[in-house]
Amino acid sequence: MLELTGITKRYGDRLALDDVTFAVGDGRLTGFVGGNGAGKTTTMRIALGVLASDAGTVAIDGRPVDAADRRRFGYMPEERGLYPKMKLLEQTVYLARLHGWTPAAARRNATELLERLGLGERLNDTVESLSLGNQQRAQIAAALVHRPEVLVLDEPFSGLDPMAVETVQAVLADVAATGAPVIFSSHQLDVVERLCDDLVIIAAGRIRATGSRDELREQHGSQRWELLTSGDAGWIRGIPGIDVVGFDGGWALFEADSDASRRAVLAEAVSRGDVVSFTREQTTLAQIFKEVVQ
């Protein structure tokens, strides 16, 4: 488990991070969500030890992270970068060797990974000669070639074509399936919502919400319910404690002031005939995000 506790960072007078505390569980895909300038990149850089914090600790499995631990992290910085004039395979092998792999093992890992990412034909091309999409894949290879045990990815999906998004999703899921904590930041809330087990929401340098996706939905879920019947649902307006928000023939969206009035709606609907569905309105991550950040 990767734990950040009380992380504070100042840039001059500006408080960039204020007492940031959250954990990334083993084998959990954690989405790190926040607006521009909310402090995501700073937080990730501090977790990686690329940047020093003014206060707070980063711990892995209950003990402070040291340089040796960090070499087992995989990191994809927000700003992409590789040596443009270096050959793809050579460069990937170099990065693996910096992490301590022997030359032979580094070469094997790099070749396997690049082939899996669909770059098998490009091993001896320089990075600058690759298409943008392939450069993104190469970047992913750079983050994964040393078989990291913790994965920290800053906006891994930004600028990816749909094919590459799928590849990255699969790779992230694979890494999480080995029991590694995986955290990634993203603006694409739909991707985060689809992919993540846990969420961390940050705004203006403060953590606003953390928890599993389902917990957060529960906490921030709406009190709105949807009823769909085969007949006309106009009778619903007559039930006490019900405020109808939307209505269209057999469909109604309503807020109930208590569980009893909600149950009364269902009972009435069942007694009147065919109930197609009766559900709580789905809260999207975007809604939760807006609510939490405000």
């Binding site: 690329v50 700003e79 970068g81 004039k85 270096m86 060797r97 301590g100 078989r147």
Partner: protein, 384 residues
């Protein structure tokens, strides 16, 4: 973790990381066509200048003259002349016309007997008995060689002549200048390129900034030193092969000192190049930000060329760390330095280099991840 993985993956030590970084620097550079070609051109240039200096350097053997009769004794006594005995004046004339000799030296009466018009002889002396005959003009060199000079003395003998001193100064100056400039700006470029391409963030998540800086500096230092040693070897071999031993005697020791001073001087400059370059984020800005360091390279170059005959300026230069790599070997060559002076100067240079590496490391570390505007010097030093 499987046991297989444990044997394939070891915790990298500092030296290991430095070695990898340095290795990448070297292999990248060796594969650069521009670098290989410029090195070959530089070496060819050194070789050509050594060969040319042997051709035009006035290092010819004794001048051959044909001697007739009694002239042979006088010619034998002149060290720069080699007498070729001729049976008579006609035979001597033939040798001269064939180009086998540069002049004919014959007794005046023999010449007069042959009806050749001569200039009036000098005051009565033994030379007055001889006539020197040239082909199309008076052979001044031969006449000079036969002339009698008064004996001479100097109060402070210069160990080497001024022209040679200038050549050597120019040699040290230009080698240091070019190597420091080439490899210094390579380091500066490489630092900013890593920043600009943002790979530095990936690198820093693996290796420390210090390992990165050390590897970069050492890799380029190895290349620079290799280039300088290769040039020195070519120059010394060239001098030996073309028979210019006179140059070699004093030069060998100062070249050896030059290499030692160069090694540390280069470390000093490259720490400064790396640190200053780290404060900017775009390759376009490297030139302006490293300008002060460039000046530190250029000033000694111009000073040594203009002031190589001024012992005071040389003495100061030989102790100032930035010019010591050029100044001290020059003074050693000119035999102006006492035995302890290079050691003291080297100690000063090493001390300065250590301080520069410490400061450079700090600036480098504090600036690497700050993109955008140039990082102000004091902020880079303090770490915000």
């Amino acid at each position: 973790m499987s046991t297989q993985t444990q044997t394939e993956r070891r915790e990298p030590r500092f030296a290991h990381s430095v070695g990898l970084v340095a290795g990448r620097e070297i292999s990248t550079k060796l594969r650069s066509k521009a670098f290989v070609i410029s090195t070959l051109v530089l070496m060819a240039g050194v070789l050509v200048s050594v060969v040319l200096s042997s051709l035009f350097g006035g290092q010819e053997g004794p001048t051959k003259v044909a001697v007739v009769g009694a002239a042979s004794e006088v010619v034998a006594a002149a060290p720069t002349l080699e007498g070729v005995p001729a049976d008579d004046l006609d035979a001597a004339e033939q040798l001269l016309r064939d180009g086998d000799v540069d002049a004919v030296v014959a007794p005046s009466e023999t010449v007069a007997a042959a009806g050749i018009e001569t200039t009036a002889p000098a005051e009565a002396s033994e030379l007055a008995d001889l006539t020197v005959i040239g082909l199309d003009q008076q052979p001044q060199g031969v006449m000079g060689a036969l002339a009698a000079y008064p004996s001479a003395a100097v109060l402070d003998p210069a160990p080497v002549d001024a022209g040679l001193a200038y050549l050597v100064a120019f040699g040290f100056g230009i080698v240091f200048f070019f190597a420091a400039l080439t490899f210094g700006s390579t380091i500066a470029q490489a630092v900013v390129e890593e920043k600009q391409t943002r790979i530095v963030e990936i690198l820093l998540s693996t290796v420390s900034a210090r390992a990165l800086l050390t590897g970069k500096v050492l890799g380029n230092a190895a290349l620079a030193l290799g280039q300088v040693v290769a040039i020195a070897v070519i120059a010394i071999l060239g001098l030996a092969v073309t028979g210019q031993q006179i140059l070699l005697g004093g030069l060998g020791i100062s070249v050896a000192w030059f290499i030692v001073f160069f090694a540390f001087g280069f470390l000093l400059l490259s720490a400064l190049f790396a640190a200053t370059a780290a404060t900017v984020s775009r390759v376009e800005d490297v030139g302006s930000v490293t300008m002060p360091v460039m000046m530190l390279v250029m000033i000694p170059y111009f000073l040594i060329i203009f002031f190589n005959d001024n012992p005071t300026v040389l003495a100061v230069m030989s102790y100032v760390p930035f010019s010591a790599p050029v100044g001290m070997p020059m003074r050693i060559f000119l035999e102006q330095a006492a035995w302890w002076e290079p050691l003291l100067s080297l100690a000063i240079l090493i001390g300065t280099t250590a301080v520069a590496l410490l400061i450079g490391d700090r600036i480098y570390r504090n600036s690497l991840l700050r993109m955008g505007a140039r990082v102000p010097f004091m902020e880079a030093l303090r770490g915000r």
